[in-house]
Symmetry: none
Subunit: 404 residues, 2 copies
Amino acid sequence: MKAGLILVGTELLNGGMLDTNSLYIAEELNKYGIEIEFKVTIRDFMDEIIKTIDYGKRNVDLIIMSGGLGPTIDDITKEAIAKYLDRPLIVEENELSELKEKFQRAKINFVDINVKEVEKPKGAITFRNDAGMAPAVYIDGIAAFPGVPKELYDMLPKFLKWYSKEKNIDTDEIYIRDILTFGLAESLLDQEIRDFFTEDGIYYEFLVKNYGTIVRLQSKESNKNKVEKIVEKIYNKIGNYVFGENADRLEKKTVELVKKLGMNISTAESCTGGMIASRLIDVPGVSEIFKEGIVSYSNDAKMKRLGVKKETLEKYGAVSEETAREMVMGLDSDVAIATTGIAGPDGGTPEKPVGLVYIGIRVRNDVYIEKRFFNGDRMKIRERAVSQSLFSLIKILDKGENDE
Amino acid sequence: MKAGLILVGTELLNGGMLDTNSLYIAEELNKYGIEIEFKVTIRDFMDEIIKTIDYGKRNVDLIIMSGGLGPTIDDITKEAIAKYLDRPLIVEENELSELKEKFQRAKINFVDINVKEVEKPKGAITFRNDAGMAPAVYIDGIAAFPGVPKELYDMLPKFLKWYSKEKNIDTDEIYIRDILTFGLAESLLDQEIRDFFTEDGIYYEFLVKNYGTIVRLQSKESNKNKVEKIVEKIYNKIGNYVFGENADRLEKKTVELVKKLGMNISTAESCTGGMIASRLIDVPGVSEIFKEGIVSYSNDAKMKRLGVKKETLEKYGAVSEETAREMVMGLDSDVAIATTGIAGPDGGTPEKPVGLVYIGIRVRNDVYIEKRFFNGDRMKIRERAVSQSLFSLIKILDKGENDE
């Protein structure tokens, strides 16, 4: 089955927006064995949208559109679909009152133009938007979603579940295993595992995420056993770089492990400045184990809040193994993570360049210090330091758990 | 002047690759006032490429292609251009020997298929590739670049410099004003400002970001004065919701204001758990003014690190105006921000539902407490609380600054 993507929005062409939606759409469609043949990004001009829908209708089975479902004057996707199909735009009373209720619950004023959000070509079916206002719309091989990622993520799976039933796509037939890795570049991962894939019908791909790289194995259900054998080989070969499977995340895994070991955790962050704490606190139920976080960006805070010695800061500097060690020792919890580094753009020296980060980890009385260099801009360096800290902690806790 | 982008490569459609090339191309073209009308991503299939070139030729002045210039069998972009223009592919002797020298210098074996890298449609001119092997090619309104980002970055500016001279471009530049707003939904913004846009050739659009909504005004440079008059009207109408322009961000603006007032800042975060600190610390140079951050997710940390009274927590609860007040009072800095709320998914009650957040702000001795309700999942509620905190602080500091 073939699909085409049409992304609508002038801002997607000349603005500074990275297109992450189509990556997501491709991943979801591929789960159902639907391949994308083309992707077109166009301005919100009526004739251009209609022309592109026409091209899609003549070339693929399913058109997925994203963007232009909002209430404002430049939101014309549904109108374009209606014009192309020569159908009127209608509003169903129950959908309108549902929308109004949503506005009320969200304490947002409902104004006249908001009615547009539930307009649809006559005969279209809709999918409930649990992450925003305008529902997704499907009619005659054309599905339209909002451009807001959260809303797309909410409704595309609902749509595909329905669509695959409607079209008798046998999803049971597809078997997927996601192995989550951290710390090894895509090309190196590829080198390590490519020889395991000699069999026809068993594919792999890499999905690069900000929390690591997913190795996705995909085949028909009937090949399940063969896939499992390959998974075993992958674990034997690169198990050191694996931190979980499927919906695992570094922070989720960390919280689970700390809980399982009956411990609690605190953080002391300099260059990462609260990001480690923030990622942990995004895990529901973290309150049982998260004791406190200190953002000790200044030397004063390092001394006052963590008891880092003045002499240590003077002799070795704030970005040093010794400071990282005193930071984790200054936290009163079973598990402690600390970071201190140079995130740039300024502040680097030949001995301590931008990107240098010391990661301190303490589990009860055992202290581990890592010296790392990360590439990228300020944000990237900080994000990488956060992920590396969590990954290293997971590996230490995993080992501790297995030893017990 | 109008351009279209054609990105060639099957891996761009179903693989896990984020398209950063077209963002870069858009920025470069916009510098010359060249607007992008469409962007198409297609597989490396001959007939699809030719069909798309044909579409471009009939709709825009300049086609920029990326990908498919390499030596392997699926690199067919130049062949497609030659077929479309009905010209033979040729190799110029001097370009071939230059390529061979490059291979020699890079100590890579030159094999027969590498000749393809200097093939071009007869009559095409080339642009030297100082970051790789295959040169960029231009003929008859069609420019083709490699898909490798560093090679594109090397040759696109060279091409545009030449092209803009050739076509006498430089007067028709685009004029863009980005007004950054927070706290007003897109549809309400639209209602407030739509009447200001009666003139042809002056457009506006909304870009919804996680830090707010950008109102983007766009026109030709020659309409600059008219745009500025509209900007003034927008400020008069919705100035309360504006926090900056162009590259401003809530955190950047906060840091600038605190610096300007000669103050310093600390944070005490419960439900936002380090995100406020983290966003502030993403601003280069924040070290001058950021004193410390406390992630006091637990009641223990609130008492021990911030001096929140046990009675307060017992009588009013951790999520209360009183606790927020004691949190900001417990920080020893000129400016203090505190959050305490219920991010969910559990922990809500009828009186204190999921989404309830108290924001505490202290500027020297003045304390402001806001009670807010945010929608969304755990992450969204936390992100919104962070942005709201920074926005409220900016408005207070802005006022303070103007009063002085």
